[in-house]
């Protein structure tokens, strides 16, 4: 006899097929497959990748919460890690205060031996650099949430940037991504700040970019371009106004709109639908949190 409390979980899953997609199109996870390249993102990508490949040292990308920094960090890591001429280490959360702890974290990402003394750890990095450059491989360090770094940690990073292989070749390459406070923190460490080869900022999206992001995500999730647009042109403006163009907020709102839409029998998400949703579920953000 079946337990009366058992129920079929499958029937409670959203019917994504109705939207013409094979995977959920709107998630707030940093997935490089869904990375929409806005003009600002493309500018940051082209400048930073040029500096990295030209061996210019440190590059900085700043952006407010939800502008796509972590997605960009994942993009850099995935792209460069699979290239034979690069070895990449990505630090998502920096250890507090200690420069040595940061070096140890980076060493662990590269698969190096971690040491208890800063000088020993730096020697490990020096030996690793020589070994890699002999093979024509350039080590790349990507640090997300870099606004949390402390001045003493910047000192150690500067020492890493100073390393050269004996033939005078390229040193470690560094990409720092963080909130706008990162720029302020860097002013406190002028020695390091001088080493920054390029600075880029990720700004919120324009209404046109918002529309393109939504369309791109639906396309990447499997919706064909032959189908009529799921979101009408008029629906974009209230979405942009509500989210102020922050990609993560756009994705979260669109996810809720899609879930609400699936419970109706409508054909498209239009302006009245979005406005009605926002009035009815003004606290959807808190609910999602």
């Amino acid at each position: 006899m079946a337990n009366k409390f058992e129920f079929d979980i499958e029937q409670y899953k959203p019917d994504w097929d109705r939207l013409g997609v094979v995977v959920p199109p709107f998630t707030i996870e940093a997935d490089p497959r869904f990375m929409y390249l806005s003009t600002e993102t493309r500018r940051a990508l082209s400048k930073v990748s040029y500096m990295v490949e030209a061996g210019q040292g440190a590059s900085v990308i700043v952006g407010e919460i939800g502008t796509g920094k972590t997605t960009l960090a994942s993009w850099f890591h995935s792209r460069y890690h699979r290239r034979p001429d690069f070895v990449a280490a990505k630090i998502d959360e920096t250890p507090k205060k200690s420069g040595l702890l940061l070096l140890r974290r980076i060493a662990a990402e590269f698969g190096l031996r971690t040491r208890r003394a800063t000088e020993d750890q730096l020697n490990e990095f020096r030996a690793f650099l020589i070994e890699q450059t002999e093979k024509g491989v350039l080590p790349l360090i990507i640090i997300d949430e870099a606004h949390e770094l402390f001045p003493e940690q910047f000192v150690e990073l500067r020492r890493l940037l100073n390393f050269r292989d004996p033939k005078g070749g390229k040193a470690y390459q560094l990409v720092l991504l963080g909130r706008p406070e990162l720029d302020i923190n860097l002013r406190e460490v002028p020695d390091f700040n001088d080493r920054v080869a390029t600075r880029s900022s990720l700004d919120p999206l324009t209404p046109d970019d918002t529309k393109s992001l939504i369309e791109y995500r639906l396309l990447a999730a499997g919706r064909t371009s032959k189908m009529p647009p799921l979101f009408t042109d008029e629906a974009i403006l209230p979405i942009w106004r509500e989210t102020r163009g922050y990609p993560r907020s756009i994705c979260m709102l669109c996810l809720h709109l899609c879930l609400e839409f699936l419970s109706t029998d409508g054909l498209q998400i239009d302006e009245p639908f979005v406005i009605q949703f926002l009035e009815k579920h003004y606290d959807y953000r808190q609910a999602a949190d």
Partner: protein, 182 residues
């Protein structure tokens, strides 16, 4: 008295041999080649304006040569900068427009109507344009017109950033560009 006035006049032969400003296209040591590109009305008028900002000896017909020289120099500079890597164009330059972003220029409006026009290029520049377009076409599917428009934008930026003295010749400006970027 009349003899004196006759002497002051040049003979017909001397007048014919005298150097006079010539009409038509300026003469060059090597004849230039016609290359066909599709440009917007704005780009065409821009070429005329660019020649006015150049030294006296450089005319509108020389602008395409310089646009190709600067484009070729900047791409070569990029190639050399990433010479140790296994790509000529950095990973993050994901499309043709990204080159505009990389070099801090405005992305052109792609919807603007373009009309075919002929530009005249020195033989070396014609080869360079083909070479650059080959690279950009393989990477991003760029056409010859797209490539030339990028060169024009780079030349505009160069003239905004550098002041050229009035007595420079075409080859002086060309050498200056090469010295700066290569």
């Amino acid at each position: 008295m009349s003899n004196q006035s006759d002497k002051s006049k040049d003979s017909t032969l001397a007048a014919l041999l005298k150097e006079k400003p010539k009409r038509g296209r300026p003469r060059h040591d090597v004849s230039r080649q016609n290359v066909y590109v599709a440009l917007t009305v704005l780009e065409k008028s821009h070429m005329r304006n660019l020649s006015k900002e150049m030294p006296k000896s450089i005319v509108r017909a020389d602008v395409p040569d310089l646009a190709v020289t600067i484009l070729s120099a900047r791409l070569e500079a990029m190639r050399r900068a990433v010479a140790d890597r296994n790509r000529e164009i950095p990973e993050g330059v994901t499309d043709f427009d990204s080159l505009y972003l990389l070099w801090d220029m405005m992305i052109p409006d792609s919807d603007e109507e373009r009309k075919w026009t002929s530009i005249r290029l020195s033989p070396q520049e014609a080869i360079e344009l083909g070479r650059v377009q080959g690279t950009l076409n393989a990477a991003f599917g760029a056409t010859r017109s797209d490539t030339f428009s990028l060169g024009l934008a780079l030349l505009t930026q160069y003239l905004e950033d550098h002041t050229l003295s009035a007595d420079l010749s075409l080859s002086d400006v060309r050498n200056q560009i090469i010295n700066i970027y290569l």
